[in-house]
Symmetry: C2
Subunit: 445 residues, 2 copies
């Protein structure tokens, strides 16, 4: 690991993403021991701090690392294996068997490849669901590359049509989770936090949900991460199994609240929106996934109008097919505009906040990350602004949301450590990972 | 210009985009004098042809250049100047005044920057609308960079709320167009074809439309390119001005047919769809623009079900904000799936055809371009497949549509000439263009 001390990062343009969304030209940030100690113009920073290393920021935009609020890194080896597939076939024929059959080594490399793509495209924090089995290999991948994550094994015990090959017994599930909490939660200087990944109500028994909620409430800063109301067919099935609609069922289980984050949240009735609001539950909007799986368009504006905190997630590569948050930021803005036939819906400024400070809020991490402010962790990215799509350059936020690509990211730093720079991944052996992906591909073909 | 003779292009994977959509592994293409002379495996090509130059294709996908069926290259200097704006304000306050006030030099550099972005992201052919004034500078930009284009001045004479600052007298409009047809149509070995760019019915008088239709019918291979049925408000205004709905009015004017291509085509009634079908009119779907301007989602599936040929366009940078066709291919697939709540809608294979061979058909250019076949023009692109989002790699078409980015394009060749390669633009001075963009930006700020 390249651990930097006392570093100045310079940039032509700095976007802070703090509440006032201050933009600084000819800017610099001073970091020490992984913490942001100074933010200002180059002149101000050079007057007040001296650093052993300066990172040049010519033709660069410096902004906080992006926060991906819903990912399945372990599905990366299934990228492109299930396109243009009906949802239930997709789950039954490709995704669940794929996850079930991964060896421990495949879990490790598939997750690591996913994390590599995240840092290469500017994501510094993710909220990640692994597999039921061999999930430790996925946590180790996150530890090694240096990504910040809420992460944990997949929890599912219910013997429905889909889960047989990947589910575990209720006791095995919860014991496995508790063991991992004790080993991994709040480790690596707080960079790794454990996550209670209840897959979705259709693969979790009421007994398991009760145990998951108890576990969440027992530990400090532990969140439940699940899917909810993704498709109409799924919502109907939940009513059949639980006797009430998705959010009513979750409420009855005490599963909602600010320490619960739910992916998708598309098919709600009026009372269910009210339940989300009253419980202060967090939502992660996953625009690419919702389009590719034809789930529907999440009403982000409605959530915002009632004060619900909404992050942006990529979901997994079988339904996206990449981890580039720039794609999902742009698509989030586009979908709200076309859904509401309102050009002013979800402007660029708001989308960038959703992918930074509000994503951090969605994960209860806003005191440490999500903006460039003194005292916060040095989770920072540099975006190149010298390619043809960067001219002219009237407004950095417009550029980042509507014109830039994750491929423009030139440097990604997490906790003060560089994890990606100009094609290199200093913390991992990227060629070894690519070879592992090819090996898996050959096995599957 | 780097004119290559007798060249072999190699590639790990070749996607032909011909009707059978053949995919060749360890492939090569032999070109001579700008024409594809051989397509096959490396072994087959090396046995049958000898070349003075071989372009290495390790970790590359070779496919036909993309066809952008609707662009406004001249608006590139306005990129990011009009985001999150209501449509009418957008047109009145930013786009039309911007176009009106461009100097000839600005028309040249703004168009050239747009074309540069197109070739950098894999577009080899575009269907482009310039300004009313100084449009020759835009045509010269296309000539110089070497892009293939249907292109011409903007035709508009009607004194409505929007057009006053850019319109011309009816006679001036049509004389200007005829002069440009005689000078530019079917020049540069057929690479530049003139286009009759009637802006939209709201800025064209019935007299002008009549003259435009007469002109189209007088010349060989000349197309009308216009906008139609983009927003509900615009459709209402057309009924007021022309006394009938958009497509009924166009039909009455004899403006429809296979030599007419219309952008957007969103708000049609059943009879209007029938009119498009009966007249064999071409439609260009512009998904980013339709989202960003909150126009609505074009029903591409419905057009396909009645046999209408539909291309994909980027539209202009104030409403996109880039010329990366990879964005628009992905979004085209996504929008149909979510509009129809059908995961199988518009699969990757079909989208890639829309952006290549069917885009060529939409522009009546399918005999020369749009697929990799012996006898066709050497309009070819190479897409790098060695970045982290390219692993695993089960299916090149899935990869191109759902995972790749225009930033992955490593080489663009038009008419056998390389116009972009690994960051370089051999036919133009890219630094000079960037400086011109900065100069315009400084003037506007």
């Amino acid at each position: 690991m390249v651990k930097l001390k006392d570093t100045i990062l310079e940039a032509d343009t700095l976007v802070t993403c703090n509440p006032s969304n201050k933009i600084v030209k000819n800017a610099a940030v001073f970091i020490s021991n992984g913490i942001i100690q100074g933010v200002g113009t180059k002149k101000e920073i050079n007057q007040n701090f001296s650093a052993s290393k300066i990172i040049d920021g010519t033709n660069k935009i410096l902004l906080p690392g992006l926060v991906n609020t819903h990912s399945h890194s372990v599905q990366t080896f299934l990228r492109g294996k299930a396109d243009d597939y009906a949802l239930l076939d997709w789950l039954k024929e490709v995704v669940l068997p794929g996850e079930a059959r991964f060896t421990s080594e495949e879990v490790y490399y598939s997750s690591l490849l996913g994390f590599a793509e995240m840092v290469r495209t500017g994501t510094t924090t993710t909220n990640d669901m692994l597999t039921t089995h061999d999930s430790i290999a996925g946590i180790q991948a996150a530890e090694e590359i240096g990504i910040r994550a809420r992460i944990g094994k997949m929890l599912m015990d219910y013997n429905d049509d889909f889960s047989e090959i990947v589910r575990e017994d209720t006791e095995t599930v919860i014991e496995g989770a508790r063991k991992q909490i004790n080993e991994y939660h709040q480790t690596h200087n707080g960079r790794i936090k454990y996550s209670l990944n209840a897959r979705f109500l259709l693969s979790c028994s009421p007994e398991l949900m009760k145990l998951i909620v108890e576990t969440r409430d027992e530990y400090e800063d532990l969140m439940i991460h699940s899917h909810a109301s993704e498709s109409q067919a799924e919502c109907d099935a939940v009513v059949k199994m639980y006797g009430a609609s998705y959010f009513r069922s979750l409420k009855k289980l005490n599963a909602l609240g600010p320490e619960t984050i739910l992916a998708h949240g598309i098919w709600l009735d009026d009372e269910e929106y009210e339940i989300v609001k009253q419980t202060n539950t967090r939502i992660t909007h996953n625009p690419s996934s919702n389009c590719k799986l034809a789930s529907g368009i999440c009403d982000v504006l409605r959530y915002h109008s009632i004060g619900v905190i909404v992050g942006i997630g990529t979901d997994g590569p079988p339904c996206n097919n990449n981890f580039d948050m720039f794609h999902d930021m742009r698509l989030a803005a586009f979908l709200q505009k076309v859904k509401h036939l309102d050009e002013l819906a979800l402007p660029a400024e708001k989308v960038l906040k959703m992918a930074t400070i509000e994503g951090a809020q969605a994960l209860n991490w806003e005191n440490e990350i999500g903006s460039i402010e003194v005292g916060k962790k040095a989770d920072l990215i540099m975006v190149d602004s010298n390619d043809v799509n960067s001219f002219p350059f009237y407004n950095p936020v417009s550029h980042l949301i509507y014109s830039a690509s994750g491929k423009d990211v030139s440097m990604t730093m997490i906790d003060g450590k560089i994890v990606y720079q100009d094609g290199s991944f200093p913390t991992i052996d990227i060629e070894k990972i690519k070879k592992a992906a090819e090996k898996y591909q050959n096995k599957m073909e």
